[in-house]
Symmetry: C4
Subunit: 259 residues, 4 copies
């Protein structure tokens, strides 16, 4: 039972006791890069849900489930108990619809980090280029310069300009103000398709950084589907790419934009 007129409501089933936990976030956004990645982790790690977050600044709609039932949009917290350290995973249906409620939700999430003893937040996002590319890269930024310097050890390219919009960016900015280290990993993607290939390479970099065992079979299959879809699109456009990028016609306003 909850009362909703407050902008954000967190329903906690039971607060877990965790050892040295990090938070991994994958909010739905461009190409669903972060969302596919976090959903894969939740499933493969059999992570346990312990809290739902509702907000009156989510899109005003209900989502219909495969069994025909319906519920408000929500984000859900899961935990995973690892050998030496634990993880909190945050996935969900939506991002808030106004700038102010995005800041507010980022703040709310850092409060939960405080309660759980979380010292590091990873967000998984998309680096949109407006072009299809054979060998997409993973880009990274962090609130700590030391971490930026170590990115090359994990095959992560350093970003040195631009911005990250939405929750995947805000939460590490707000976390920084509260003494939490933030890291954002962004998978290169055209921005034109749901891109499991970008999700896969982000996960590959993440597991290296975390020293985590994670079966990537399922996301690799979906990545292959993405690759096939892109190939079909390219063929229909009459361009058999031979390694170089293919530029889509319009839409390139967003080129180089990150979200």
């Amino acid at each position: 039972m909850l009362s909703l007129p407050q902008r954000i409501v967190v329903e906690i089933t039971q607060m877990p006791i965790l050892k040295n936990p990090s938070l991994i976030c994958g909010f739905p956004g461009s190409g669903f890069v972060g969302k596919l990645a976090i959903d894969h982790m939740i499933e493969q790690l059999k992570a346990v849900s312990f809290a739902n977050m509702f907000s009156s600044s989510f899109p005003p709609q209900v989502l219909i489930q495969p069994n025909g039932t319906t519920d408000l949009m929500k984000n859900t917290f899961y935990y995973y108990k690892g050998e030496t350290s634990d993880l909190v995973l945050l996935g969900g249906d939506a991002q808030p619809v106004t700038p102010e409620s995005e800041y507010e939700m980022a703040e709310e999430i850092t409060k939960i980090c405080d309660k759980l003893g979380i010292k590091t937040i990873y967000t998984l996002a998309a680096y949109i280029t407006g072009t299809f590319t054979k060998l997409p890269k993973v880009y990274g930024t962090s609130t700590l310069e030391q971490i930026v310097k170590e990115f090359h050890n994990y095959g992560v390219s350093v970003m040195n300009s631009g911005s990250i919009t939405g929750m995947n960016g805000l939460i590490i900015g707000v976390g920084k103000r509260k003494g939490i280290t933030g890291i954002c990993l962004l998978g290169e993607t055209s921005g034109y398709v749901v891109d499991a290939k970008a999700s896969k390479i982000v996960l590959e970099a993440l597991v290296k950084m975390l020293g985590l065992q994670l079966d990537l079979t399922e996301i690799s299959k979906k990545a292959q589907d993405t690759e096939n879809l892109v190939k079909t699109i390219e063929e229909q456009m009459g361009h058999r790419t031979t390694g170089e990028s293919l530029h889509m016609p319009q839409h390139d306003k967003k080129l180089g934009y990150i979200s």
Copy 2:
């Protein structure tokens, strides 16, 4: 006399004492499917108004009545005393204009449900397809899986994906969080015309579910008007449909969208 800077104001004339009441909502939306249906019920059941709901998040305008007078936009609650159980009917002029105020109004309505002892909410909405069809269906979703399983008994098709935007969706999602059972019935409609035919089939399913006696003569006449209008449009477009659907040209962005 009321003071309006609060976002929502409910003016109650006299709170009725009701036996086992359900709430039926028909907010104005696509095709006016829900609004036509609820207005028909209010009229046929000679339901009695007992509360008005004003909100500073309604569109900032006044509506002019047929007699030349004017009033703020409002939603109105009515009650109907049945043989074994009673009904509360909620109809009105508008939905709130921002996401947050939609959540807030849904919350406010569930508070009134609490006071009246309402355990089940039905919302009447539109299922937009972007095409004209001879035999539109009624779709349904519910917060309870048991109810979803019984939909076929009432000729209601189960939805198993998508979303329901606006008050007709939100109120059953918010109600669910407060322990109220929610059911949304959606009449298939093109989305291009005010569609009394969709309203009529939704009402037919509703009265079966409620075991309610309701004279459908008036709404059937209006449904015939809708059918004639659609036939005229189809003829003007040079397509005499012979059973199959007719796709309208543009606008099909909204195809499959529900509101």
Copy 3:
């Protein structure tokens, strides 16, 4: 000295003592019909300003005066002492930019009405038709049916459908909820030009209803300017109208819309 984070701030120089006062409002809107009318009244009646109203929901800008100085956008209250009854005139620079702040300002204005003993509010607005017409009409609506019935005595046509958007509509709707009688007079206008002719005919109806002496020479001159401008437009479009209306090409979405 005032502090602004509240949404609305009213700076009162000195609250006048008035006998049987009515409020006349002319907010800037389509065709500047209401604004031109109220500015004419303020000037001709040598009305005395006694309060400024600022709002953080006005457009975020400053206006530059003819002498090169600048100030926040504001609305200003004036009073005029008549023989048998007094007037309060409300004119200004802007309407609030969000629906909620429009409701809030309407509420704030009715509070000032309470303090001044105002029992009737007149708002002066535009009735947009999308066409140029030789003999524009004045339309009216009221919160009291009795007043609607008397409109014909003043050459005012009764509206019996549609809506009035913005402050000129809201304030009579909000006032009604507080027991204040509201009357809106709307001058027919194309919506394409600043229309002093519409302002003039609205003023002519208003002075009849109020039994007020008001020199209309200045507004009549401006009305002649409007007429000349329209004639030039019509000639450029190659249509010498001979009494009937001239429809402008596009834009007629707004036809019949009132604001």
Copy 4:
């Protein structure tokens, strides 16, 4: 450590003690005229930062620094100790995204002015014309008529109509209501390019008004870059201007608009 759900948070390192200080603001806006100017001042005067201002109404994103690290968007206050009087300089990443939060931030800034004993605010802005011109002018407006009359002594042209939108306008309007003198200097610019030339001429007028020593070498180099860029654009458009203005094709809606 700060908590962000409040709309504006000011983190003060150490409040300086200043003699007779004025505030100079250059918010990012059209042509980055104000921002380039204030950044030049901060650098040349080796001004010392003493406070950061964060807001949940800034665009919801983080900015990536050249070293690969990231932070929330923020505005920063600096001070400079002059010989006879001191300066406070306010520069930053963004303006708030809603009208109400712009008013709120203007109010917050005037509170800081109060604490520092600031009696005069200068804002540096752009006067957009939609055309390229060889000899752009500096325009000015003030809350005090006396200052307007003295503008010609500094080569500043007087504005006598129009409006100034955004923080560069609002802050002098809100400051006026609190007894602070406001001056806005606007550099003429096409609005099509980042215009260091406009920044330079605004700075030239400002230093005259302040009696300030400021090395303009760097901004003059950037102004030359702007000039070269504009020349290239003009040549590509096939118009070698010979002194008179060049009108860009579309976009001229904004002509004469100031922001």
